[in-house]
Symmetry: C2
Subunit: 354 residues, 2 copies
């Protein structure tokens, strides 16, 4: 960068013929300061002419604020393959802007490294934290919450011991996955397979798995571990898991997939085996990613309102940073089942409803 572009408040002050204090007062609209209209205009013009933007570090050093929010994606691979996340990123970024914040994207590669985002906090790089899909082996977050650092979780989580201090925007994954499974049971299926969302160290995975199990048992069906395979967010993992589920008969007649991307991969495996969806195997997904209505056949799935989740999370966090305690620490959003064609509940004629 050329020296020319390093404009300081000093230069603005000089150009406007005032002191740096005045510049600061004008630019920050300090309430107490009585600045004449004429001076104010001169300062504003000088700043505009020079393209002055206050140095973020200096401002942050003195104010203690960074105007930056950290977004933690618990597993980096997840980001790469799951189409649910981009919607959230979009919404988070969008809403943060509207509240005057920037978003620092932090992906966590390694479980064992405990300081990954503690460092952001300790180094005072961020004013608050949004954590996506918390893992059950995360030890640092409870610590942060205990110290009252502003944190909002996206996704479902109960922490008995911290209940009223855990701020979250959640959907009831347990109930929703149970409802998805019930839907399949209601269509007459008894051999319903499940491919999990991820390895077992995600809360979301445990909860969805559990919901599936509860629905089976509530209907008097046996929970059969052979019908459960572990996925890994991706279509590739869904494809492989489904192939394994189709290695021996009797085939399952329905699948509840841990997310839509996994469902997509599983559908490819089903198709490759020469089986039809939904006639031979019904499929239900989770998330309602933007491409779900355009799969062949269109995917029946639990809808997670990603954009609204993102918006609410930022609004809540921005409040927490300002010391506003929300009425209820946890916001629960509805997660409706969107019935399309892949579950077989609808007539062919209506199959392509979007």
């Amino acid at each position: 960068m050329t020296p020319k572009s390093r404009v300081t408040s000093h230069q603005v002050a000089k150009r406007a013929g005032v002191s740096r204090t005045t510049v600061s007062f004008v630019l920050n609209n300090v309430p107490g300061a009585n600045i004449s209209e004429e001076t104010r205009a001169r300062v504003l013009q000088a700043a505009a002419e020079l393209g002055y933007v206050p140095n973020a570090a200096a401002r942050s050093l003195v104010s203690g604020q960074t105007l930056t929010l950290g977004l933690v994606v618990s597993h980096a691979e997840h980001l790469k393959v799951d189409a649910y996340i981009p919607q959230l990123l979009y919404s988070l970024s969008h809403t943060s802007h509207r509240h005057g914040y920037r978003v620092l994207l932090e992906t966590v590669e390694d479980v064992s490294r405990a300081d990954v985002y503690l460092e952001l906090v300790r180094g005072q790089r961020i004013d608050g934290l949004i954590v996506l899909n918390l893992r059950s082996d995360d030890k640092q977050l409870p610590e942060l919450i205990r110290r009252n650092f502003p944190v909002v979780l996206i996704g479902f989580r109960r922490w008995a011991e911290l209940e009223e201090k855990v701020y979250a925007v959640e959907t009831d994954d347990l109930e929703a996955s149970s409802r998805a499974t019930q839907h399949l049971i209601g269509l007459g299926h008894t051999r319903i397979a499940h491919i999990t969302f991820s390895p077992d160290n995600y809360f979301a995975t445990q909860t969805r798995h559990q919901g599936y199990r509860l629905a089976l048992e509530a209907a008097g069906l046996e929970y059969n571990p052979k019908l459960v395979r572990f996925g890994n967010y991706s279509a590739a993992s869904g494809y492989e898991a489904m192939q394994k589920l189709l290695q021996r008969k009797p085939y399952p007649t329905a699948l509840f997939a841990g997310n839509d991307t996994i469902a997509l991969g599983a559908m490819a495996a089903i198709h490759e085996k020469g089986l039809r969806i939904p006639q031979d195997i019904a499929v239900v997904g989770y998330d309602d990613i933007p491409t779900a209505p355009y799969l062949i056949p269109p995917l029946t799935t639990i809808q997670i309102p990603a954009v609204e989740q993102g918006r609410l999370a930022v609004e809540m966090l921005s409040g927490l940073i300002r010391g506003v305690v929300p009425e209820r620490p946890q916001i629960r959003l509805p997660a409706p089942l969107i019935v399309r064609a892949s579950c077989g509940a609808k007539q062919k004629a209506k199959a392509y409803q979007r």
Copy 2:
């Protein structure tokens, strides 16, 4: 945050019984300073015990560095729907970490607001910038480049007037889209439709469109604007565009889609119309998103090496920030055509190769 967590170098110094200078020297491994092993160990231990992390703002203020890279996604909607971007985000974040940088995610909502990322630069929030899919109506970027601010573009772009100052990791979109179209021509197609990547204000869109046209004309086929529809990154836009293309006969016998997500949507429209892929309409996409091999049928597409692009972009940028001028300002990556089943080039038996 409790006061306890606001650990400063002063406290570390006190605990270790040394001065703040010594703490700084030890923690930053300053080469010149001769620190006794014993002192060094004491400082390190004190820092560890207190969980000391230097205040980022203070450090940045004095060093002039932020250790943060800005990532600009030119259109916010794009982020939400295109599965190509997450791969890049992943790679960018991953590589940045390895180089000691953080990633600030900046989405540009509004074309007209000229200061969107100039502000990041002027406020010295970032040390360098990565710009994804530059738009042709972007006026601020040339300015930044002219001033030698470290910028790396991802995607193809020629700027005659700045040629040797534009750093980029690119694929030859013109050649690649031409090659994709040629592939369809080689399979005997003459009515080949194109759904563009986005509205026309992206360079990538113009280039892919142009490559399609060049291939047609090189083969002596007429370029027919009626076979071209504008997409909008998303499956929904691909679906709608394809529906329009199928409104009157003769139908196109092949489609070259501006990206894979659009191809996915278009495939749904084709299927809904009762037509078969590839027998009635062959489809070729662009990007090779992670789900492309799992579409039904698996998608033939141009492969953009997103992860490698991201890695190279960060490496180049990190070099530029340190003043390292790369041998060649533009790195060009190969973009092979991955032939799967959707184009009809392969036998049915091999259709599901992944």
